[in-house]
Amino acid sequence: MKTELGSALGAYLLALADDELILAHRNSEWCGHAPILEEDIAFANLALDEMGHALIWYRLLADVCGEDPDRYPDQLVYTRTAPEFRNVQLVEQPKGDWAYTLVRQFVFDAFEAVRLERLVESSYPPLAQAAAKIQGEEFYHLRHTRAWVHRLGLGTKESNRRMQAAVEAVWPDARQLIAPMEAEAPLVAEGIVPPSGDLEAAWLERVRPEFEAAELALPEDVHPRADSRRDHTESLRDLLAELQHVARAFPEMMAW
């Protein structure tokens, strides 16, 4: 792959991987704290799956950059500082209440499903193959969070109120998902990735009817709080402090 295209693809893959990693960490925070045992187990599983998907993207990134796929992912996860992460702010926000967690996971899963449907047709075979692998597992995520959106949206007055508040809190951050990635233009031109903006219609088609059926209103005309994946909130720094502190304290032990 040509150098310019390679570095553009590297940037794209880093964003995909960081989104999955940070969301996995937030999901793992429910372990031992979820409202019911079944959900404790479900969110531990979701965290594990998203972590696995992050690893797939980090390894592919290592291949594209000519780095060691066994060591590079650890290096990226445990030694970068917050400004070097390329995740959307949506995934770094604190886990919030149960409603916030579910709404965030649902809109992220729905977006991911739409993006994966396009990535499996990528002109770069390793990317298409990785997307196909991830797609099979995501089926279970979307089914799970969709069911919860309905259950809580249609549950009680209080559950509906909290879900509506969650939708309003999540949606501005979620809109960052469809913002074009840095340097995605050459990748789009080569048919390697879809234009991010193109995913909006399919994503809304996936999300809007579910919210409507759950008696939840999607806010109109909102803009993402962040313009760039280089911008982060204080929350990411806190998250990384926890995620990285053992690895930073014992760098020679770095085998996870």
């Binding site: 187990i41 599983n45 193959q129 692998k133 597992e137």
Partner: protein, 169 residues
């Protein structure tokens, strides 16, 4: 059955490798092997070197590293100087690759085996899962997520026993 496409000619070194791989069990379901699961995609023997290509089940499954280590140990035990285990993502692993004997072993172990789906995983596959205890198909899915990435939790409405089900992917 892509997962069983090759097991080496009788009496060959390849066959000995495949036989050794059949003794590497899934640490989370110790009755089925990496071969039963359809994880072994290719075995190439060259002089005193052996290269195994495997594919992950669920991408985040923590058992994969254990199985990889075990494969290396088992094949080194056969006298190979170099054992390499490579991972491939494509074609993506499917529960359709589980061998018939793997399905029987799962059932006997109390885990409902995944149905053959030919690539179409849909909601219908989540219903009427026969209970591995009493055989009734009056069962209810309790949680799509279970104690391991590959299993869901059901209860039987007939014998009232809970059971695990290997998820179709």
């Amino acid at each position: 059955m892509v997962g069983e496409s090759s097991s080496g000619a009788p009496g060959s070194v390849e066959q000995r490798v495949w036989q050794a791989l059949e003794t590497v069990m899934d640490p989370e379901i110790p009755v089925i092997s990496v071969v039963d699961l359809g994880l072994i995609r290719k075995v190439v023997v060259e002089d005193d070197r052996v290269a195994v290509t495997m594919t992950p089940t669920f991408a985040g499954c923590p058992a994969l590293h254990v199985m990889e280590r075990e494969i290396k140990a088992r094949l080194s035990g056969l006298g190979f100087a170099t054992v390499t285990v490579e991972t491939t993502l494509s074609p993506a692993w499917s529960t359709d690759w589980l061998s018939d004997s793997a399905r029987e072993k799962l059932h006997a172990y109390g885990i409902a085996p995944p149905p053959q789906h030919g690539g179409a995983v849909n909601l219908i596959l989540m219903e009427a899962v026969p209970c591995p205890q009493c055989g009734s198909d009056q069962t209810t899915e309790r949680n799509a997520f279970g104690p391991t990435a590959c299993k869901a939790i059901y209860t039987c409405d007939n014998c009232l026993e809970p059971f695990e089900r290997f998820k179709p992917v």
